[in-house]
């Protein structure tokens, strides 16, 4: 009975929320306490890029396609930033076992982008990430407009195309 009540409450919420949805935004970036790569507290509402788009990726040091994705992006990241002003945040979901290995890994790999730590999966849950890699594109208003699960060789080109469309105000399909 209690569960039934909850479910119906959610149905109500979802109907209300969907009917109001006019923009193409999927949802706003949630406000969740995570850590920056040095272990200092960081709230995800502080993720910003002066009104320009943001790419948010979920990854882990043990996730092979994630490492490939970041290596591939890192090669073109400088150009991306110059051309579009995009900023990438890579959110590590490594837990206590490997989260302290993130900083030396990022530096050792020479990755240029911002890295956040989500060791207990709070942001992962808030953004409904099942398995890494999971990539989001966030518009200048902090709204998620596109997402993609998994990484296949060459997918990074798709990301920058979407970013360019967001900047141009084009419709995403």
């Amino acid at each position: 009975m209690k569960n039934l009540l909850l479910v119906s409450l959610f149905l109500l919420f979802s109907v209300a929320a969907f009917s109001q949805e006019e923009s193409k935004a999927l949802f706003s970036l949630p406000s969740v306490n995570v850590k920056n790569v040095s272990g200092e507290p960081f709230n995800t509402k502080d993720i910003s890029n002066d009104g320009k788009p943001i790419i948010l990726t979920f990854w882990a040091t043990w996730c092979k396609p994630c490492m490939k994705e970041h290596d591939a992006i890192n090669e073109v990241y400088e150009e991306w930033v110059e051309e579009t002003g995009v900023k990438l945040y890579a959110v590590s979901i490594d837990n206590a076992r490997s989260s302290k290995r993130v900083l030396p890994t990022v530096n050792g790999k020479g990755w240029e982008f911002d890295v956040l730590l989500d060791p207990n999966g709070d942001l992962k849950r808030a953004m409904n990430v099942n398995i890494p890699p999971h990539t989001f594109i966030v518009n200048g208003n902090g709204e998620v407009v596109w997402q993609h699960v998994g990484y296949l060789e060459g997918d990074e080109m798709e990301y920058i195309e979407i970013v360019e469309k967001v900047i141009a105000g084009e419709k995403l399909d």
Binding site: L6, S14, G39, N95, R101, G121, E153
Partner: protein, 576 residues
Amino acid sequence: MISVASWSQNFLEGGRVNGNVQMDAQYYSEDDKLGITDSTLNFRKFGMNAFGNVNYTNGDFSAGLRFESYLNPMLGFDDRFEGVGIPYWFAKYKVGTLEMTAGHFYEQFGSGLILRGWEEWTLGYDNNFYGFNAHFSPVKGVMLKGLVGNQRYFWEPYEAGNRGIVRGIDGDFYLNDMFGSMAESKTKISIGGSFVSKYEKTQNSPTYTVDSSYSVLDTISGEPIEMINQKTYQLVYPNNVGSWAARANIANGGFNFYVEYAEKGNDPNESNNYIYKKGQAIYSTLSYSQKGLGIFLSTKWIDNMGFKSKLSESGNPSMLDINYLPAISKEHPYSLATVYPYATKPNGEFGFQGQIIYTIPKKSTLGGKYGTTITLNYSSAQSIQKDTIISPITGTMTGSDGYETNFFSIGDILFYQDVNLLIEKKFSTKVKAKIAYYNQTYNKNVVEEDIFDEHHIVYANIGVVDLTYKFDRRNSLRMELQGLWTKEDKGDWAALLLEYNVSPKWFFSVQDEFNYGNPVGDDQIHYYNVSFGYNQKSNRISLRYGRQREGLLCVGGVCRYVPASTGLTLTITSSF
């Protein structure tokens, strides 16, 4: 009524709903080679694990739930998961710097040595807390947390006495934020501490009868008479078990040092043989990094730190864990490197890990046009020294302190060791390669059977070549060639994987793991798999047909046994 409607109008305005769904379904076939018949499958030809999350967010308010169904649980998942329901729901709001959660929640204090609630779908692991949780930041640089709750146990609802109640408080203090005088300092220091206690209405504890004899002289005959003095002892289980931890993190330039120490009060329980010794743990990491170089060292020492919210709970799958003791070894992404995985032994373990990552710069002789990355990693886990104490009452360790040990003592029994090297190099815009080598020493008795000796040690060498060839922007082919060589256990393995990707939508792969060196001829089996996947935005559908090899599936140092199976697996994941 009108006011309710307008309130709900305001409340709903700007609200967003999002969620995700995952469904894993398996159809099992009989397989003579693997000895799988309908009766070994218990006539369950089909298994399905699925969940769906729905979250509602409106400003500082959010609520959500997770619906789960296991009809039937897939092979390798506990039968007690069979069922459908909502094991997780919550409502959370934030006013100022206070955030309250009612319902179910996941929480971690420090690195989790005394408290961590988490879930991992692929493992079937979920120890969420059900109760109240508060986070409060009274001033900048201070984060306080408090919680009270009981923990998930399959589908069994909480009732007084069927498991314990967990209470905990935790504080993080970032000194550079708290004190103006330190704001500009290059040295960043944070300290923290936590206290966690479990209340459990203890069940009937066992009794032990000890006889002692003595003689008296018969007052009439003057002859000695043998008398027996019988004493009955009962173990007293504590109703409350406390634990505490303290931690510090110091960072300066490229250096980062972290240490956490934890202690647990006497906690006789099923997994420590009901001994009364206190538990102790220390976990520490030191890293130095600069662009192109990362060095990482980590060590841990734990003794009697299993901590569950029910003292009689033990075994597989691991349930009702209050704390989390991270395994010290590195997780490996190649399948043959995970044939011999490691998970923490909570009753006593010393572990060490070291890693160096170095990227040889672009356009140098060794680095080539694109640079070359080299990762060298070493990890080992071994026993701690224990001098056993036998209780005169029970005749075993039970009821005594169990054993004596010195803090940070290192024992003689090797549990696990892994030396591995990974070289990553891009040759051109079309060709990338990774080469990996692993040398693993695996104490099978310790890891799999909890028998602490060195009578069954597996020495394995593993080599991997991983090549990617990119035809054009969308099409690429990846090949993985792996070999595992060992004289022990199931002998040598070889594996080949071919994967064709069409970015961003399609992938096809064929894979075979062949246990060609198995000393039992009939067990020289091909574990073949054919799979196909399709991505569309945040939907991912994959279909796989083939054989699953028996083994331990480990995520984050917790392992689940997966039996061998043959069949078709469909996985759908989707987010909205």
